[in-house]
């Protein structure tokens, strides 16, 4: 069994993707389920400390390296992939199944990559396999959103490769350890990670493309890409102070958008950036408590955000609608989905006994301990805001609010099962945080369930709920509207095309003048040439042979004379 321990975890997924491509029906279902289950079992037997080396083009590569940090993300991606696969079992679409398995495999490849070249390869595979999950919606909107998504991720890959090569040229090692922001190479790699991590202004690919994917594919997407980025930041840039500020901005600005957004899956997209902000902040603090909190929160977020996206995917699957303006009153026909959605909402809002509580608290405590008071205040504001837009708004507008009289039933059994499993994990981790704490990279001596903390969190959440009720009763709450909200994608969807058009408009008269001038010059040249060389021109005239002979005779005579004079001179 020794070779099995050195089998990189992406292999079972890639093999399963190949097999899923050529099978169908029950056999494919078995293959789909076997990949995360067998892969997960194998991973449980792997101990930290394994490093597999290989040489390629004279470079020492480490395609498979296991430590506690990568192992945690390895477990997480197996759980995330398993939930997403169960959720999508009813789908009869080879493209989605194959792309989903390749995508999960690439994410695993990236977190177990011990060197930067291997990381780059899986970084690109992650981008390529994920875009098919968006295109699988097979609508024009999904197609163009997929292209925009791919553009951003290819840019991230190019920056990463440039950074790595520069790093190598400056005598750096290929091993993927702490990188830091010294020099250009560090910055390039930082921005490459930042694009995938949805840093402010680089974030729009997420809220643009995720809601355009199929109901099942979005669950896959939410689990991997951004979490791989969180992992790479935690390994390459822990304790980078800039990350604290980036993280705080990430927690605060998306919640305003989430309040006014109509597409409920896009609301969850904004809320995802907000949650990643907490992790980025924790990585920026960089203490053991903060890093533990950041990766624990990543772990929990995959499960509760997956659960929320699954419940909204189920609503979209059953009703064909996802906009707040079209939904409401579904609790009567979809009570199970509604209940499971509320469990996800409680978890993301960090209610005591639910998973978000036990991980977010570690980050908040670490921020305060390191004396970042302002960051703490803003994170607290964002925590209350999460409850507002993700905890209340999502279940409220989908399942309660105005009854639109939509015909609906509970979703297929596999969808319900996946949501149930995710909900159980949320409650289990929330109630027995040791389950998660024992997996974290550093030893944990943190007590989440402290009376002061529980009461404080309950006060924050209940009064946030009270604010929602008060605003609603006073009619101050912004109604759901069908509209587009401008975000940073405006720069490349509007500003860039407009600028190009404007430049063309300015260039056209200039271009016309230049052309006119060029034509006039050409004409003048042709006229001159034709005056001299055309059949009637001076230089093209026929000369009689006799006159030629005369001229030659004259020339020779002149030459003879000159010669004679020269001779007589001597």
């Amino acid at each position: 069994m020794m070779w099995l321990a050195e089998l990189p975890p992406f292999v079972p997924f890639y093999v399963a993707a190949l097999l899923a491509g050529v099978t169908r029906g029950r056999i494919r279902v078995l293959i789909l389920l076997a990949a995360p289950l067998l892969g997960g079992l194998q991973l449980l037997g792997i101990e930290p400390g394994i490093e597999v080396h290989s040489r390629f083009l004279g470079y020492q590569l480490i395609p498979f390296r296991v430590d506690r940090l990568s192992l945690l993300f390895g477990y997480l991606f197996h759980i995330g992939a398993f939930l997403a696969i169960v959720f999508s079992l009813h789908v009869r679409d080879t493209l989605q199944h194959v792309a989903g398995l390749c995508y999960a495999g690439s994410a695993l490849g990236a977190v177990f990559a011990g060197d930067l070249i291997t990381l780059f390869v899986f970084w690109e595979l992650l981008a390529l396999s994920s875009v098919f999950l968006i295109w699988a919606r097979r609508s024009e909107r999904a197609l163009v959103a997929g292209f925009r998504y791919l553009m951003m991720h290819i840019l991230s890959g190019v920056l990463l490769l440039t950074g790595v090569l520069l790093h190598l040229q400056q005598g750096g090692s290929l091993q993927f350890t702490y990188i830091g922001l010294d020099g250009l190479s560090g910055w390039l790699i930082f921005i490459a990670f930042g694009i995938k991590c949805a840093f402010p202004l680089l974030h729009n690919w997420l809220t643009d493309a995720y809601p355009e994917a199929t109901p099942t594919a979005t669950v896959f997407l939410s689990a991997m890409t951004t979490k791989v980025a969180v992992y790479t930041l935690a390994r390459g840039f822990p304790g980078t102070e800039l990350l604290i500020y980036i993280g705080v901005v990430m927690t605060c600005f998306p919640i305003f958008y989430a309040v006014i957004e109509n597409d409920l899956r896009r609301v969850l997209g904004y809320s995802m950036i907000n949650q990643i902000g907490f992790m980025v902040c924790g990585i920026g603090i960089g203490t053991q408590l903060a890093l533990n909190g950041a990766v624990a929160h990543a772990f929990n977020e995959v499960i509760f955000k997956g659960l929320l996206l699954m419940s909204m995917g189920a609503v979209l699957h059953v009703t064909g609608r996802i906009n707040g303006t079209d939904l409401g009153g579904l609790y009567k026909t979809m009570p199970k989905t509604a209940t499971l959605c509320i469990i996800g909402a409680a978890s993301i809002s960090a209610f005591p006994l639910f998973s978000g509580f036990v991980s977010k608290a570690m980050i908040m405590t670490a921020v305060l301990k390191e004396g970042h008071d302002w960051a703490w205040l803003l994170l607290l504001f964002a925590s209350a805001g999460v409850f507002h837009h993700a905890g209340i708004k999502i279940p409220y507008f989908a399942f309660f609010a105005h009854d639109r009289g939509l015909k609906a039933t509970e979703p297929p059994a596999n969808m319900l099962l996946a949501m149930l499993l995710a909900a159980l994990l949320c409650v289990m981790i929330g109630s027995y945080p040791r389950l998660l704490y024992d997996l974290l990279p550093f030893p944990v001596n943190y007590q989440a369930y402290d009376f002061t903390h529980v009461i404080a969190q309950l006060q924050l959440l209940f009064f946030a709920a009270l604010a929602f009720v008060w605003l609603n009763l006073r009619g101050l709450y912004p109604p759901e509207l069908s509209a587009v909200n401008l975000d940073s994608d405006w720069t490349y969807r509007r500003l860039l095309p407009l600028t190009v058009q404007r430049l063309i408009a300015i260039g056209q008269p200039l271009d016309a003048t230049l052309r006119r001038w060029g034509t006039a010059c050409g004409k003048a040249l042709i006229n001159t040439l034709s005056r001299h060389h055309a059949p009637q021109g001076l230089l093209a005239r026929n000369w009689p042979t006799g006159s030629m002979v005369l001229w030659v005779a004259l020339l020779l005579g002149a030459y003879l004379l000159a010669y004679l004079f020269e001779v007589s001179d001597q």
Binding site: I260, T452, L460, F463, V484, L486
Partner: protein
């Protein structure tokens, strides 16, 4: 939801909101930040924060809201 259930949910929320700040006076809070030890700090912060969030979001909507086919047909949201 029928009116009765809505009222039940709202009243339980009001009761919780009435009790929670009172608890602050009944035990010794250990806090990392001086503001945390103010009774009712979290309650006030949660309420004011959320009201501000929504009011600012309404202003933001005025700034960023565009018609649904703003980015062209089939290309909008």
């Amino acid at each position: 939801m029928d009116k009765f259930n809505v009222r039940r949910v709202l009243y339980s929320l009001y009761v919780c909101c009435a009790i929670l700040p009172i608890i602050d006076f009944l035990y010794h809070r250990h806090s990392l930040h001086p503001w945390e030890s103010w009774p009712g700090f979290y309650a006030v912060y949660g309420f004011v924060g959320c009201v501000l969030l929504v009011l600012i979001a309404k202003l933001l909507r005025r700034l960023v809201k565009r018609p649904e086919n703003y980015y062209g047909k089939g290309n909008g949201r």
